[in-house]
């Protein structure tokens, strides 16, 4: 069930051809086949990239990392503080 026939790479600027080539090489090694991305620039990612290959998403963007940290901090605040944390405060 292939979803996107052409692998897509969303990437935050700045980037160059060498970086794209290295990313393609990494995925080619993983999937044991030549991967050639359709590259889309996406500044909303802040940094890093998101690759759509073979029905899978490889999200290495700064935006997702920050969202994960935000959720982690919200969860940390919602959990009642430990005795040590209470004392520290």
């Amino acid at each position: 069930m292939s979803v996107l026939r052409t692998p897509v790479l969303k990437i935050a600027p700045p980037y160059d051809d060498d970086l794209i080539r290295r990313i393609e090489q990494g995925f080619s090694d993983r999937f044991k086949t030549d991967v050639c991305f359709e590259v889309n620039e996406d500044p909303s990612l802040l940094c890093g990239f998101v690759a759509y290959v073979n029905g899978m998403v490889f999200d290495a963007s700064g935006k997702t990392r920050l969202t994960d940290i935000k959720e982690y901090l919200i969860d940390s605040v919602l959990v009642p503080p430990t005795e040590k944390e209470e004392d520290d405060f």
Partner: protein
Amino acid sequence: MKMRKDISREKLSDFLREKVGAFEFKSSVYYYGIVQSTRDDVVWINGLTGCHYGEILQFEKNVYGLALDLSEDSIGAVLLTAEADVVAGSLVRGTGKVADVCIGDTVLGRVIDPFGRPLDGMPLSAINTRALEQRSPSIIERAPVKRPLETGILAIDSMIPIGRGQRELIIGNRQTGKTSIALAAIRNQVPDDVICIYCAIGQKSATTARIIHELTESGHMENTIVVSSSASDRPAMQYLTPFAGCAIAESFMYKGRDVLIVYDDLSRHAVAYRTMSLLLERPAGREAYPGDIFYLHSRLLERSAQLSPDLGGGSMTALPIVETVGGDISAYIPTNIISITDGQIYLSSDLFFAGMRPAINLGLSVSRIGSNAQRDAIKWIGGRLRLALSQYRELAVFSQFGTKIDAATTQQIHRGERMQEVLKQAQDETYLVSEEAVLLLAISHGVFFGMELSEISQARKELLKYIRKVHPGSLHAIESTGDLSKEEMDTLKKAMDAFLEEYNHAGE
């Protein structure tokens, strides 16, 4: 959690640094799919290799769905929230998780949706979660139902007793007092003894708010969890509501606690599941319900149990509610659930409009295993009362034809009317076991037989007041032992004779 106003900037920054330092980056690799088409809360998806049945799917803009149809070339999912943001071509992500709900003591006293999100406007800090779908306890993990769960309703506790771990259906037309019985059972539980869970499935929000208000006012909300999906929620949310309540109940049961869970009601649950199934293009069967509608309810109700002592001896007692149309208990869903449960309390519209509250039709009501759990003080008298009332109702119907009736039959009808009158109970009135035993003894001793029907309600209250004043020790003994000894019975009978004399004297 206390609010801290004296936190310095340095301490807050240290706290954040420590937390962020402890954060572990996880690789964000997941399968994705593309929305093929969407209509009426159902989305067909292309892709998503490795998606599991019941997996939560994440659409763009934080819209969530539930994968319920896995076929070779596409996946059918039902949306759990608004569908406006899901369009053909948008991306879908598999979360790898099945639906779960937060559990633990922090959920007590709260109103939550099937995913454990608070609906009462307060933050909820639950740490543990439990998957909504679980296997039911096996045969070896169960123990016989032997402990009573009193509802405080005389007619039920004496003639249709419920045991801890039993599944007792409450069935009847609309507006016959089904929810009132379930709420009375919740109000009758001692907070440290039984945890109560009320699942409002597709109810009007105003109705749920009224029930929460009632429980709060009576001080029982602290011990109760309300899992709610309103009539305006998506069918998928209504479908998940009883499973969420059941998962929470199980978590307490496996900790050795006793839980009472009310599913209000499973007719609406069946309708929500039918809606989903028809939209997913599954074959329709009788009354357009899908073929697995029986399994839907049997797998839910089978999770109620009395666990063996090895597993802590906890229990989950279920009171599912089913609404009938025109009193037809032979419709598809009522017959299914009657066959799954361990008995039913049938509420009749005719009795309700004749002023009988609770409007329990004893002829069609039964408790298949509850009598094993009934307290001895009530068991002995309750069995005879049921027979006497059944005979009275038969004779009462016969006497309506204007036939000439002999003196013995007239007397039996006269007594039956009074017995029925004693069983009438206001919506907010519940009895202790000792009070129920006294009233049953009073019926068998004929205390009310010489009274006018209009007097009985008041006489019943005065009798209990009198016994409480004269023989508090007897009531205490019944409460602690659950039994009524021959000596106590004779003492109480003498006290009842004295009460009757005093009552008649006051009447003159």
